[in-house]
């Protein structure tokens, strides 16, 4: 690998000394890191001051310290854990319910032009429907229990997974299929050695979007019809005008979404080593 490092260094246009200086600096000292961090801290401090001094109504904008304390209280009382568990269960069940069929059908539609031509009109028609609008229909069919909620979340996760898996297969170069055919690859080998790895980067993007959609729909469903969950917490907090609890719940939902994305980024870096290095 030593030659590779050399090649990269030589091909870069930047003078060597400045780049060396930057790479020797620890990550925490880099501008890209501390500038947004300090901007965030400044915004929080400003908010804290505006709220405490009464320039912002504490009813509408409770100070960050108050929100944080509320969050701690929610954690300690166990209220957060039980609601978070309900939300996570719906997100993951919905993802499994919609994501896997979306993945399989997407890969097949990417592979077979005939299948794509037959099914694509239905996908094109169904995809733009706002999924939350399906909830009443699904509740009529499946009742008002947990299954209706998970099904709506599943429907929302299905489409981004399918569309990205299909695009992932279609962007594989025809040469990669010809090479496999030339060496006499069986359909199973084409699937495992060409289609799955070749579409993996976009499949993982699809998984990320599906997870985001699943979270969005879970919260939406919980706002409308549920006994437990982050959406329920948000809704109760609003109905009882406990603003600090409202902010705390929204913060948890935001952290949840961000950690899903981070998790999938890490997973991508691990599973797609041939592409991540190119980006960095």
């Amino acid at each position: 690998m030593a030659h590779l490092e050399d090649a990269r260094t030589r091909s870069a246009t930047e003078p060597v000394d400045t780049r060396l200086k930057r790479s020797l600096r620890p990550a925490s000292m880099r501008l890209e890191w501390w500038l947004p961090a300090s901007m965030f801290a400044a915004a929080m401090l400003g908010w804290e001051w505006l709220s405490r001094s009464g320039r912002l109504s504490p009813l509408f904008f409770p100070a960050p310290s108050v929100i944080t304390l509320t969050l701690v209280r929610l954690v300690l009382s166990g209220k957060l854990a039980s609601n978070l568990a309900a939300t996570l269960t719906r997100v993951l069940l919905g993802l499994a319910l919609g994501g896997f069929p979306g993945l399989i059908l997407g890969l097949m539609m990417g592979w077979s032009q005939r299948l794509r031509l037959i099914i694509d009109p239905f996908i094109a028609a169904a995809h733009p429907v706002p999924k939350i609008a399906l909830l009443p229909i699904i509740m009529i069919i499946f009742g008002i229990g947990e299954s209706s909620k998970v099904i709506v979340v599943g429907v929302a996760a299905f489409f981004p997974m399918l569309l990205n898996a299909m695009a992932g297969v279609r962007q594989i170069s025809p040469i990669h299929f010809e090479v496999a055919q030339n060496y006499g690859a069986s359909p199973l080998k084409v699937l495992t050695r060409v289609i799955v790895p070749g579409s993996l980067p976009l499949v993982l993007t699809g998984a990320r979007l599906a997870l985001n959609s699943a979270l969005l729909l879970t919260i939406a469903v919980e706002l409308v019809a549920a006994q437990k969950g982050l959406g329920v917490m948000v809704w109760f907090a609003w109905q009882t005008l406990r603003t600090e609890e409202l902010y705390a719940s929204v913060a948890v939902a935001a952290i949840l979404g961000a950690s899903f994305n981070l998790l999938l980024q890490r997973l991508t870096a691990h599973l797609v080593p041939w592409q991540v290095e190119r980006e960095s």
Binding site: V179, Q181, Y183, G184
Partner: protein
């Protein structure tokens, strides 16, 4: 490693038409030629004359519109009839160099250990020993083409089909790799059909040069190269070789001018 290879390939009145939105476009017309034994046949022709189409027909990746391809001497030992080396992007970006080179063996069902051993030996042969576990994006274009060539040789096909494997390389890298290819081929002799647009390359590598006409491609002329083996660049300055190159160019020039609509 020299194995007797009774392979013969005959193309008889081979035609290929493509259907496009603007109608039927003939790519190849009445191509008739044959190759046999361990011949190294180079095919030159103006760009767009259907050279790649010809290779894909022989490889079985395309079906001819009419005409026949007859292969004799197919071995029953599980070796593939042919292996194609593609112009570019032929190696899989998601496989390491080792897995790429072992791909042909893997498709044939050779066990992991054995195919990796065989691939490793060839990776060393093409000078990529320290890159066996690298991914193609970490390599230069020339190194990637060597991976493609190693993959084809490791599969040990009866016939190698090479589609301008050095077309995208700079002139110096190309010279070195051409000589390397000759060396490997002399160790593992087999039937080669090598498509190029480079006359120098065709004369350096081939036992015979087949000159094609512009689109639709036909055989314009077949020219034997009377240079012994082993060959290297030093043969290229000989007067008789220069004369052959000139003759190929005069034949080709007419075709190139016609395909560009520039009169002689």
């Amino acid at each position: 490693m020299i194995s007797p290879n009774p392979m013969t390939l005959e193309c008889q009145r081979l035609c290929k038409e493509y259907r496009t939105r603007s109608g039927v476009v003939p790519a190849l017309e009445n191509m008739t030629f044959s190759v046999a034994g361990q011949e190294f046949l180079c095919v030159v022709g103006p760009s767009g004359c259907g050279k790649t189409t010809l290779l894909k027909l022989i490889a079985g990746l395309l079906k001819p519109t009419s005409g026949r391809i007859i292969c004799d001497g197919a071995a029953a030992d599980g070796r593939p009839g042919n292996a194609m080396v593609f112009q570019e992007h032929g190696v899989y970006p998601w496989m390491t160099v080792l897995d790429n080179v072992a791909f042909g063996l893997e498709m044939r069902g050779v066990g992991r250990r054995q195919r990796h051993d065989q691939a490793q030996a060839f990776i060393e042969r093409v000078g990529l020993a320290s890159f066996a576990h690298s991914y193609p994006h970490e390599l230069s274009v020339g190194m990637r083409q060597r991976v493609g060539i190693a993959r084809a040789f490791v599969a040990d096909p009866q016939m190698l089909l090479m589609d301008e494997p050095f077309g995208s390389l700079d002139a110096q890298t190309r010279l070195v790799l051409q000589e390397e290819l000759l060396r490997i081929w002399e160790d593992h002799q087999k039937l080669v059909i090598y498509v190029t647009h480079d006359i120098e390359e065709a004369v350096l590598l081939g036992d015979r040069v087949l000159v094609m006409t512009g689109r639709p491609g036909r055989v314009r002329e077949e020219i034997p190269i009377p240079v012994g083996r082993p060959r290297d660049l030093s043969n290229m300055g000989r007067p008789d070789v220069m004369e052959i190159k000139w003759r190929i160019w005069k034949t080709l020039e007419h075709e190139v001018r016609q395909s560009l609509w520039i009169p002689d």
